[in-house]
């Protein structure tokens, strides 16, 4: 269950990382927001991916 949850969280974080610059390019976000969302997505990815790897190893 933890693996699925962290997997979804990691994928969602990655989507944010890609969505932010795309939204900036299309004019929906300004530069500061784009960079902020990218930073949030990146932090999410590292947390989720680390948890995912730990859960996999524990199993």
């Amino acid at each position: 269950m933890l693996r699925i949850a962290t997997g979804v969280f990691a994928a969602g974080s990655m989507v944010i990382c890609l969505w932010a610059p795309l939204a900036y390019f299309l004019g929906y976000l300004d530069e500061a927001l784009c960079q902020g969302f990218f930073a949030i997505g990146s932090a999410g990815w590292f947390i989720a991916a680390t948890l995912f790897v730990s859960a996999k190893r524990a199993r």
Binding site: M14, C17, L18, A20, P21, L22, Y24, F25, L26, G27, E31, C34, Q35, G36, F38, A39, S42, W45, F46, A49, T50, V53
Partner: protein, 454 residues
């Protein structure tokens, strides 16, 4: 020499036996491995340098398509078939052919080359950290450090990377594998976020025009050599020459179920190299062609981008430091691992302070492949050509030689011939490969009776 060689053998003892059928890996594993391994800190520099060398957009795209295809074919048709046939690493196969003495020399040469690569990655990471201190990044033509700030930052990063490698390589390698997909996203996101600064419209209607006039303009930066499609084809082909034509990826493909798994290298070449190089080219155009990976990423996606450059530099330098340590272990008996890694890290950190290794990365990569290429040619010839010509194989093993002198002569001789070839550095390795293969065949044929009588 034989004492040193025995220690080297002991070090690689764990993979002495051919891989057993139950250890073979699935194709998706190879796809993942290649996709992760070929998006690294070097990519920030390589794609940017293509822009600085004045390549045109069309030449770059076609050059990368062709060059990466040639690289994939080299993995699939040269490296993977020998690996699947023998199920051995290059180390153990070369030992049968050329003797433990030559494998030792090969290892030490490889370690030295790895040191420079790790040093260049420390320099890349320094550009990211230096942003926070307003540090002056070296100029494109700089050979020596240009400021105390650069030396202090680069050396400090080198020491931090070294300490991290000492603290635990394996755990860090696992963390690095987590970073790989994110680093790939840093490249994509960085390029997308740079496009509006370059004037690309949201409907992409003027993308090609901007690409031709503001990114890959065909005009080199001052002091940089003009590159054409040939340079790009050959660069994309030889950037991993030591791995495919040089056969060091036998270590990987010995776990493949079929030689066709060599084609999985396309996952590293196209979404990896090709896309990452295009993205870093866009990013460097966004900072007026300033060769500063930290600034490129910061300008595109802010502080997370800076972190991306730092992590990319570190994830490339970390396994490289480990490999250097492994190779040096053979000539430093009874040294604990931490001491070896510390020594390798210190040497690498000093090298990192010299910007020439980072600013001449493309040329360095060419030399790296060139130096290791003759060994690949020797092994290829021995594996495929000798049985067809009736030349006895595995001379060193059969004669109990520490060093197959003709292999050493061919290796050194090929490099000398390549040095004098009146062609561009990027093209030298290809005729060199034929020189090595033909001269090794002639030498071994001439002395075949010695082996037959043994």
């Amino acid at each position: 020499m034989s004492g040193l060689a025995a220690r080297t053998d002991k070090l690689y003892e764990f993979d002495r036996e051919p891989v057993s059928p139950d250890k073979l890996q699935s194709g998706s594993r190879f796809a993942g491995l290649f996709a992760g391994e070929h998006v690294a800190g070097t990519e920030f520099v390589i794609g940017a340098f293509f822009v600085l060398h004045g390549i045109t957009a069309t030449d770059l795209i076609f050059g990368l398509l062709i060059g990466n295809l040639l690289a994939v074919l080299s993995w699939a048709l040269l490296c993977a078939p020998i690996a699947v046939d023998t199920r051995l690493t290059l180390y153990w196969y070369l030992r049968k052919i050329a003797g433990p003495g030559l494998t030792l020399i090969y290892n030490v040469a490889n370690a030295f080359l790895y040191c420079i690569l790790a040093g260049a990655m420390m320099s890349v990471a320094a550009t990211a950290v230096g942003l926070g201190f307003g540090m002056d990044t070296p100029q494109l033509t700089d050979v020596y450090p240009n400021s105390v700030g650069w030396v202090v930052t680069t050396f400090s990063i080198g020491i931090v990377f070294t300490i991290l490698a000492i603290l635990g390589f394996e755990k860090l390698a696992k963390f690095a594998s987590v970073c790989a997909p994110w680093i790939f996203v840093v490249f994509i996101a960085g390029a997308i976020a740079t496009l509006p600064d370059l004037g690309v419209k949201p409907d992409l209607s003027n993308f090609w025009e901007i690409a031709r006039t503001k990114i890959w303009t065909g005009v080199p930066s001052p002091g940089q050599e003009q590159y054409g499609i040939g340079h790009i084809i050959f660069f994309a082909w030889f950037v991993n020459l030591g791995m495919h034509v040089g056969l060091s990826d036998m270590a990987l493909f010995r776990y493949a179920k079929s030689w066709k798994y060599g084609f999985y290298s396309a996952f590293g070449m196209y979404p990896g190299h090709m896309l990452a190089w295009l993205c870093s080219g866009i990013m460097v155009a966004g900072v007026s062609r300033e060769m500063n990976p930290g600034l490129m990423a910061y300008n595109a996606i802010g502080i997370a981008g800076v972190f991306g450059v730092l992590v990319a530099g570190w994830t490339t330098a970390n396994p490289t430091l480990y490999r250097v340590g492994l190779a040096i272990q053979t000539i430093t008996p009874n040294w604990p691992r931490w001491k070896i890694t510390l020594a390798a890290g210190l040497v690498t950190s000093v090298l990192a302070c010299f910007p020439i290794f980072f600013m001449k990365l493309l040329e360095y990569v060419a030399y790296y492949g060139l130096v290791l290429m003759p060994i690949g040619a020797i092994v290829f010839t021995e594996h495929w050509i000798f049985p067809k010509l009736g030349i006895p194989r595995y001379r060193a093993e059969r004669l109990g030689q520490t060093l197959n002198l003709s292999a050493l002569v061919v290796w050194v001789g090929t490099l000398v011939v390549c040095y004098f070839l009146p062609i561009h550095l990027f093209y030298k390795w290809l005729p060199g490969w034929f020189v090595a293969s033909i001269s090794y065949t002639i030498l071994q044929k001439a002395t075949a009776k010695e082996v037959e009588h043994a």
